[in-house]
Symmetry: C2
Subunit: 347 residues, 2 copies
């Protein structure tokens, strides 16, 4: 389908066999696989574990940029697990699943499906019973909230970054628009295209929508794209936005998007978001990005106020939702400080 | 093409014949027509004139909601001209122009084409040499700026509302996305469709994008749509956004969008926006809407600071760019106060 989802490009992955996996939508997924990476060593007490799921369109490699000796996520101290979300192209996904669940027949997923699979990996494979920290950005934040609510006795600290526990209506309208853009390409063919490259027009249309909402007005007014080597707005549009997404598989993007759109921990409390978030036992640091148009600070703050043992921080950057890309040192330092302060109980 | 652009729905229009009209793109438009409405009576001194161009997708009728006895735009006092912009479906437009300039062959337009045509109407038809006020919302603001710079000796007061003198890069990315959505429908066929209804899928895709950027996150969080009679988010999506645009002609929307995207008064000063805006002689009140995602307050304020004899006001409303629809009394009162204070020199 696509040459993008290879270990050559994304580094080595481990695979955990989920067997016949019962999805929350009621379907059974045969031979389901959860792929992941780890850094560091699990200590004898098994109490040095950090879990760091990734965002929409990403793979575990995307989060490796935050791991390093001397940094808050220090592999000489912590055992850091980077799980690949289902439909990310490596774990069970529309592009690597045999008929009849291939392509457009891939089942609908939920954060609960991801987090239950990750829980199986941690408990069955490693015997882990406690997590020092679960953190994640964007859809990684969605998984973080799902962890903190569902397995609240396991999670000591949680740090959802630029994401929400329940996808807001506005955000769901955006996600639906990117789904529509991908599906608008006749080559998408209900998800049964032969090669992902055939759907490049749909991906380009989707990239255009990301260019509008993924960054912010002030980013473009200040022409911040010049700082990272682009020569014009069109150059940035094509070589940043289109190039980034054109490598990827349209169905993987779609099935992740549907999962994002339906993200909602309130189902753990009969639809009552406040009640669901009040279940969280972890010390929680909710982090927002100042100019994020998907997860504006106000939306993140609203949820933080429903969490008992929680704090809130806002990272300032014109990179908006993409502050997590750490395109400059200031962004990385601000995020590292949040992680460090939470891990060291300095909130 | 569409039954939408009729006097039954939009009230009676006058027509001003522009003859063989020279467009700024170099093309000649044969038998070009500018349609318009008026309210009130031109006085003998011809010094009671207000010009109020309309926004993208609109017709002069849309601005009539601000005209009324006892209101700031009082037809018993002022002669109020509501010009229809070119490509609005009534003035020369892709849907009413004969071959060879019909449909997809309709020429590209600019605010300069609109404003020069309106100037011809005012001077040749009415002998008007002075305007008490030019005001407009969104693309109407674009035309207002074009008037205030180009015919600066005629315009005594200017009130651009929720719009810019130069379309920002971020805004142009959005406009390009709606153009792409319309064109994504195979039925659009390069602009040569037989019936506008055939392109309904493209219009629905475009409506989805408007739902994201036309309002704002806080609007949806507060479910403000309930206040105006919708029962769910999907209900609002279909019966507000889709229903609004499905009546319209896709090419009219497209050609207006291209004009919007290329809006730029800086061409009057060799590309120097500050120099162009410093040419304005009118007393100018720049009005922004607090939660507007197309024309955020900061962008409007940046331009206002470049205008010598100017003030700035921000209208607070969760209706974002659509505050101008005056879906509640507070919005209408705030806008009326801006108009009134500018007309009465109470800034």
């Amino acid at each position: 389908m696509s040459n993008y989802y290879t270990e050559e490009l994304h580094g080595p992955h481990e695979t955990f066999e989920l067997g016949n996996y019962a999805l929350e939508n009621g379907q059974t997924f045969p031979d389901a696989k959860l792929t992941y990476k780890t850094h560091g060593t699990l200590n004898a007490a098994k109490d040095n574990v950090i879990l760091f799921p990734h965002m929409w369109s990403g793979t575990p490699m995307a989060m490796e940029a935050f791991i390093g000796e001397g940094r808050p996520l220090d592999p000489s101290k912590y055992f850091i697990i980077l799980p690949g979300q289902l439909a990310n192209g490596f774990s069970s996904s529309p592009n690597n699943t045999p008929s009849p669940l291939n392509g457009g027949s891939f089942p609908q997923l939920s954060y609960g499906d991801d987090v239950r699979a990750q829980h199986q990996l941690l408990t069955e494979k490693f015997g882990i019973r406690e997590l020092q920290l679960v953190l994640g950005w964007s859809m990684g934040a969605g998984q973080t909230y799902e962890w903190a609510v569902r397995y609240r006795d396991m999670v000591k600290r949680a740090m959802p970054i630029a994401g929400t526990a329940k996808t807001t209506d506005h955000n769901s309208l955006f996600v639906r628009s990117i789904e529509m853009a991908l599906k608008s390409d006749p080559a998408w063919d209900g998800g049964y295209y032969a090669k992902s490259e055939d759907v490049h027009v749909g991906i380009r249309r989707m990239a255009q929508l990301w260019s509008v909402m993924g960054l912010c007005q002030a980013f473009y007014s200040a022409e911040v794209w010049r700082d990272v080597g682009f020569s014009s707005l069109d150059d940035f549009m094509v070589r940043f936005w289109e190039a980034y997404f054109l490598q990827m598989d349209p169905n993987c993007l779609l099935w992740q998007a549907m999962k994002w759109r339906n993200g909602d921990v309130s189902k753990h409390a009969g639809g009552d978001l406040r009640a669901a978030l009040s279940l969280i036992k972890a010390k929680t640091l909710v982090v927002s990005f100042s100019d994020d148009m998907f997860f504006p600070p106000h939306d993140c703050l609203t949820e933080q106020k429903m969490i008992a043992n929680s704090s809130y921080r806002e990272v300032k950057s014109l990179w908006a939702h993409f502050t997590m890309f750490c395109m400059n040192d200031t962004d990385r330092e601000q995020i590292d400080t949040c992680i460090s302060d939470l891990l060291n109980d300095k909130l």
